[in-house]
């Protein structure tokens, strides 16, 4: 066997092993010393120099004299303590039995006079009751005609309803760049849950006002003297923007793979995936689905163009679970409408990662949407 080949093989194996699991052995960066330096002004430096010189060290210190060898050792003997005297208690005679009470002479107590009239209850003072504010146990859910994952406040009356919020653009006569005038748009009002009539509180405001608080007592001297705890200087944590790090990593890794002639890249970051998810769910309207269809989870496959627009003809159902064929069909149609409607303007996806989102499988799970 050729020794050179063995060495070469072992070397390669070690190299591959290191490449695969090298991360495990990578040590932490070497610790480095940090010396705190305080910047001071010239005056402060001069003041430091002008300070009195350090007190002289004491040259001689009296030391106690060692005991002379002839001294007697202290007498450590001691007499044993006398045992404490314990006196035994004298045994008492058994107590005489109690005399049997003479019940023949007893007379039962007179029965208490009971009247049918109920006791008059004192009505509590009104201002006492007013101490307790009548506050609704939880915030009154705001009814809205639309239910969405995130509540949306009612838009301004003259604003057009659209999926995205855009400010109004009016032509400015003095401007050099003429902007195209555009209507203001805002998303439609929405609440996060369905509010039934039975749940609507008739009046959310407290019906009784709170009693005004008593005037505060004079502060005691002790309280005045109590030093205020100095506020702790807030430590600023270096802000770690996860997505920024991910982006940087993605960019670095992506750069290494740019050799291919077609755009390819790393998988989407979780932020990019979330953005896509949010974009689709805005258009996923389950309001008109049957309760059977609302029990059906469908997996839908779609091919995407590089412009971020779905290829409508490619939308197909891969699988359905939880309901019958009809329910699966309705659930798929609602999912298809969501992809087509919200994808009509193109989803916001990074082109450099086109390879990772060329084909998308979306699972539409309506479990959370059943009764909301």
């Amino acid at each position: 066997m050729n020794t050179g080949q063995i060495i070469s093989g072992a070397g390669h194996l070690a190299l591959i092993g290191w490449a695969l699991i090298g991360g495990v052995f990578r040590s932490d960066p070497l610790p480095f010393e940090v010396t705190e330096v305080t910047a001071i002004s010239t005056e402060e430096y001069a003041a430091l120099l002008a300070r009195d010189s350090a007190p002289e060290a004491v040259a001689s210190v009296d030391t106690p004299e060692p005991p002379a060898p002839g001294d007697l050792a202290p007498d450590l003997s001691s007499a044993a303590d006398a045992p404490p005297e314990v006196t035994q208690p004298e045994a008492n005679d058994s107590p005489p039995p109690d005399a049997v009470p003479d019940v023949s002479q007893m007379t039962p107590p007179d029965p208490a006079e009971v009247t049918d009239a109920p006791p008059v209850l004192e009505v509590p003072q009104e201002d006492m009751a007013a101490m307790v504010p009548e506050v609704s146990p939880r915030p009154n859910p705001r009814p809205a005609p639309r239910v969405a994952p995130e509540a949306v406040a009612p838009p301004e009356p003259d604003v057009r309803i659209d999926d995205v919020a855009n400010p109004e653009v009016a032509p400015d006569q003095g401007a050099e760049v003429v902007e195209e005038p555009a209507e203001a748009t805002a998303p439609e009002e929405a609440a996060t849950e369905i509010v039934t009539e039975a749940e609507k509180l008739e009046q959310a405001a407290p019906s009784v006002s709170m009693r005004p608080k008593a005037r505060p007592a004079r502060a005691t001297e002790a309280a005045q003297e109590a030093p205020k705890p100095a506020p702790e200087p807030s430590r600023q944590k270096p802000a770690t923007d996860k997505s920024a790090v991910n982006d940087a990593l993605a960019a670095a890794l992506g750069g290494a793979q740019q050799n291919n002639d077609r755009p390819s890249g790393p998988p989407l970051t979780s932020g990019e995936k979330d953005a896509l998810r949010l974009a689709v769910q805005q258009c996923w309207n389950v309001g008109s689905l049957s309760s059977d269809a609302l029990r059906t989870t469908v997996v839908v496959a779609v091919s995407m163009g590089e412009d971020g627009k779905p290829n409508n003809g490619s939308i197909r159902m891969l699988s359905a679970s939880g309901g019958g064929d009809t329910a699966a069909k309705q659930a798929f149609e609602a999912a298809r409408r969501a992809i087509i409607r919200c994808g009509a303007r193109g989803f916001d996806l990074p082109v450099e990662k086109y390879d990772s989102w060329r084909d998308i499988e979306m699972t539409f799970n309506p479990e959370k949407m059943r009764i909301k």
Binding site: L20, P149, P266, P267, N285, I315, R337, N365, K368, M369
Partner: protein
């Protein structure tokens, strides 16, 4: 040694390959939250194939729109906003024009009157955003007087094809029409379309009538009348308005009748010697059987849609609560445990829910719960809500709401089982005790 190394290297490369391949697989995301909002649709006036049908085109489209928008699940995009006009039933649809106004469903149709004077209605439904027709086109033929029913049938088809569940528009409601002041109120049986149109009366107002209930086929109605001074159960044929009293033992009071799903069995309450219990009777033979035997009050029985169980109201625990027992009687299981009093339970036609009236803290509610009593949900709240009845598809509930005071008026309301879309059903007089028919044939 070399071979071992080579094998090891190959194994390593094989192990590493799927990892590389996996990154090129489809991107997978899961969507768990959507929105709940009415689906926008457009229904342009139906085109008329001949002059005789011209009048019906617009009226039929309006009834369809009223049906769909009335569910709260759909929102009509008004005709004024339409970009392209439908001039021919056969010409291709300009999807882009309908997409531009965000119409997600489009209903087009044509109306004509044939040589025999029959009204012919054809229609198609389109899924605008996927650019496809939903199902295939359909045609209905009927009398000209029945044009509203034909519109309801079209709306039922649209509803079914989009939501996946049965419609309820081509159905009727029997109820007690009320007129006059509260202390001297005249009551008579009335029947109408589900939306309040086409009201007609089945009895005169000479005696008090209560609690009409449709048969499973919608051809007969059971009701309680005080004609003889005592409550007694009658069965009425809707088409001929002929009626007969059910045989009961003399000296008893019978009330709260309801048909079983076979259309032959009737369950009802019977009071004898001051005690009310539940009985069942074969309506043809008149043979009756006792289902409960308790010193408490048992009333308001309602069959499950498969006919195997009965839900009813009883105060055997001290307050009125809901119980479920076998259709042949026997041990009953209590299902309501919330605060307050429960009554008038009705089993949903889908079998999954039970609707009820609940009185709690001085207010009345209509609510629904699962058949084991779980997931109780109150849908309404008012001074007096009672007597729920289910739409044929088990998605909507109609009930009576009465306002407070001597001038208080009873009227009919409907609400979706989610608690949304609460609205009054328009009736010309006061109305109470509704019972919803099945879908008509």
């Amino acid at each position: 040694m070399m071979r071992m190394l080579a094998t090891l290297l190959m194994a390593l490369s094989l192990w590493a390959l799927p990892a590389v391949a996996q990154s090129n697989g489809p991107l997978r995301i899961e969507i768990t939250e959507g929105v709940i909002e009415p689906l926008p649709y457009a229904v342009p006036d139906f085109v008329s194939d001949n002059s005789a049908g011209a009048d019906f085109g617009r009226r039929i489209a309006r009834v369809i729109a009223s049906d769909l928008s009335g569910t709260g699940l759909f929102r009509e995009i008004p005709n004024e906003a339409h970009i392209s006009q439908i001039t021919s039933f056969e010409s291709p649809v300009q999807y882009a024009d309908w997409k531009a106004i965000n119409a997600q469903a489009l209903i087009t149709g044509a109306v004509s009157v044939d040589n025999a004077g029959k009204l012919v209605v054809r229609f198609r439904i389109y899924d605008v955003f996927s650019g496809q027709e939903l199902g295939s086109g359909l045609q209905f033929v009927g009398t000209q007087e029945g044009w509203r029913r034909m519109a309801h049938k079209v709306a039922d088809q649209v509803y079914t094809r989009i939501t996946g569940e049965g419609g309820y528009f081509d159905s009727r409601v029997v109820f007690v029409g009320e007129s006059g002041p509260k202390d001297k109120r005249a009551k008579r049986l009335a029947i109408m379309d589900y939306d309040g149109a086409n009201v007609s009366y089945l009895t005169d107002s000479s005696s008090i009538v209560l609690a009409p209930r449709f048969s499973p086929t919608g051809d007969r109605v059971l009701y309680t009348s005080y004609e003889t001074g005592f409550p007694r159960i009658y069965v009425l044929d809707v088409a001929s308005v002929g009626r007969r009293a059910l045989e009961t033992q003399p000296g008893t009071m019978s009330f709260a009748p309801r048909f079983g799903p076979d259309g032959r069995t009737v369950v009802y309450s019977l009071t004898q010697n001051g005690n009310s219990d539940i009985f069942r009777m074969d309506i043809n033979s008149g043979a009756s059987a006792r289902l409960t035997d308790a010193p408490s009050i048992e009333t308001a029985p309602s069959f499950s849609p498969d006919g195997s169980q009965i839900v009813f109201e009883s105060d055997r625990s001290g307050t009125p609560q809901l119980y479920v027992m076998s259709a042949n009687g026997g041990e009953a299981r209590r299902i309501s445990f919330g605060q307050g009093r429960y009554g008038t339970p009705v089993w949903s036609p889908r079998g999954d829910l039970i609707a009820f009236t609940k009185q709690s803290k001085g207010r009345f509610h209509i609510g629904v719960m699962r058949t084991d009593g779980s997931e109780e949900r109150l849908l309404t709240a008012s001074f007096l809500d009672e007597g729920p009845t289910w739409a044929p598809n088990g998605r909507v509930i109609m009930f009576t709401r009465e306002t407070q005071g001597p001038q208080g008026q009873a009227s009919l309301y409907s609400v979706d089982i989610t608690g949304r879309n609460l609205k009054q059903v328009q009736t010309s007089t006061g109305a109470s005790d509704p019972s919803w028919s099945p879908l008509q044939n």
